[in-house]
């Protein structure tokens, strides 16, 4: 899953998202870009609950990287 921050996101807001990711036991990978920061999430075994992150301050959108199906893709 990738959390994409708004261009206007503050460093505090970015830290807030990182903290929320780590609080769930996952690893946060901030990817600073020229226009905005994206934060990758790894360490999750199942699907991550997108709405939880979507509602954090400064978040523009949450993009799932893997498909929702796990077993049929074997």
């Amino acid at each position: 899953m990738l959390v994409v921050m708004r261009q206007s996101a503050t460093p505090e807001e970015i830290r807030g998202v990182v903290a929320a990711i780590e609080a769930r036991g996952f690893k946060a990978h901030p990817i600073p870009g020229a226009q905005r920061t994206a934060i990758g999430i790894t360490g999750n075994r199942g699907a991550v609950d997108a709405p939880v992150f979507e509602s954090l301050p400064g978040v523009l959108e949450v993009i799932p990287v893997t498909h929702a199906y796990k077993l049929v893709g074997g």
Partner: protein
Amino acid sequence: MKQAGAHILRGGAFKPRTSPYSFQGLGEEGLQILAAAREETGLPVVTEALDPEGVDLIERYADCIQIGARNMQNFSLLKRAGRAKKPVLLKRGLAATLEEFLMSAEYILSEGNYEVVLCERGVRTFSDFSRNTLDLAVVPAVKSVSHLPILVDPSHGTGRRDKVSPLSRAAVAVGADGLIVEVHHDPNSALSDGPQSITPEMFEGLVRDLRQIAPVIGRRL
């Protein structure tokens, strides 16, 4: 059918007809007839279960449990099929996206039944010359993300006898793992889906053609 090259027999004992006045299938008697056909020919049988309660009966008589297009998102039925000890044939819903189709299969696998075979049977589009639009492109699409086998039903997919053979040939060429073809010895007298059913003679001819096409893509009928 077996002589012509068929491997499995499909028949509807419990039929999800659009109209309550249409022939609903022979029920358990139909299952017994299918079992007798298996006895005589050695062909395994697949038939549709309409609801979770019906799965018990189908599991007893048939070799494979079909879940029809209209039931593709009947989640309690999918879960019950996931607890069954027989393979499940899952048909794509009338307007199901690829993701919805695969998530329905995921329901079945997640309950413990990994023996799922998918089937493309045509989807609803604006196109009005045909009962459904057979979405052959879904075959390579499924194969790129899933290991599950996928069959094609050119009979329901087109609704017309004269389209069954061309679409069957295309289905083999596109890489389908099998076909479900409606055959009737006297389609004009069929109680259900006569217009899309082909005769045994047509079926024989079709299989002969398909045997020629399959090797082109490295498959064999």
